[in-house]
């Protein structure tokens, strides 16, 4: 994803408060709830066993990358070229690559599955505007 040249709007994943951050910011604290918020992109290129990955940016799982977690929340979207083994993914647009392996539920604004992807039974809800991100993504594209 291209870096933002100027300030842009993000939504806190704790309290859903929207606020502006600088284009180069990687993390900040929410002015609504004062909790720390990651706004940068998360790139996974090896095994990453964690409880949750939450960011206002994008999560990219490279070909050799693997996430094992309970929750992934990525407001700008998820691009999976490796393996995602998660209970639930809530995100903006999701792209599942041709050699990707996916396990878990998927709630996304939009979904692209390339031929050859392997999906091991998860509940898919597409389009899903659970976080109300659709208008935010449109707003930031302008």
């Amino acid at each position: 994803m291209a870096k933002h040249s100027g300030p842009y709007t993000v939504q806190c994943y704790h309290c859903r408060h929207r606020f502006e951050v600088a284009g180069r910011a990687q993390s900040t604290s929410c002015p609504g709830c004062y909790k720390p918020v990651i706004v940068g992109n998360v790139v996974v290129d090896k095994l990453k066993p964690v409880r949750e990955v939450r960011t206002c940016g994008k999560v990219t799982v490279r070909r050799r990358g693997r996430i094992i977690a309970d929750l992934i929340e990525a407001h700008v979207g998820v691009e999976c070229l490796g393996t995602i083994d998660v209970k639930k993914v809530i995100a903006g647009p999701i792209v599942i690559g041709p050699k990707a392996k996916w396990k878990g539920d998927c709630h996304a604004c939009s979904l692209v599955i390339k031929p050859g992807a392997q999906i091991a039974g998860g509940h898919f809800v597409v389009p899903d505007n659970e976080l109300g991100l659709a208008d935010l993504l449109k707003h930031n594209k302008r």
């Binding site: 031929p115 050859g116 392997q118 999906i119 091991a120 039974g121 998860g122 509940h123 898919f124």
Partner: protein, 138 residues
């Protein structure tokens, strides 16, 4: 031979069908269908189609709306305006941006094998219940 392979069954847009259909070759649904579809070839759901059916086909292309479980031995393609409400089991799944999918999805060779495996239900013998009555209070 070439004539036969080009043959395609078309359910026209002004047609409403309820019941069970099976195709040996390709078929395209433009109208409304409710029931069960078995197709050995490719099945296309046109943008104008409204399909409430369990589908079993070699490959399926969805441009319209389909409500029901899908099982494809080869490929399911959900195009940008396609809408699927139901479980999908397929060897390959291609979803375009803008496609709508609501249901359980299992895709890949493993998914197909798991689906093909017969479910053997073991009989669980339940021991007879012993009635343990509490002694009546005096």
């Amino acid at each position: 031979m070439t004539e036969q392979s080009n043959e395609i069954t078309v359910i026209a847009s002004d047609t409403k069908i309820k019941g069970e259909m099976s195709f040996d070759r390709a078929a395209r649904i433009n109208g409304q269908f409710e029931g069960k579809i078995t197709a050995k070839g490719e099945l296309q759901i046109a943008p104008s189609a409204k399909c409430k059916a369990d589908v079993q086909a070699a490959s399926l292309i969805v441009d319209g709306s389909i409500e029901g479980n899908i099982r494809a031995s080869q490929r399911v393609q959900v195009n940008a305006k396609g809408r699927v409400k139901g479980d999908i089991v397929a060897e390959k799944l291609v979803a375009a941006e803008g496609a709508s999918v609501f249901g359980h999805v299992a895709v890949g060779p493993d998914a197909m094998k798991a689906e093909a495996r017969p479910v053997v239900q073991e009989k669980v013998q339940v021991p007879p219940l012993k009635q343990t009555l509490a002694p009546a209070r005096k």
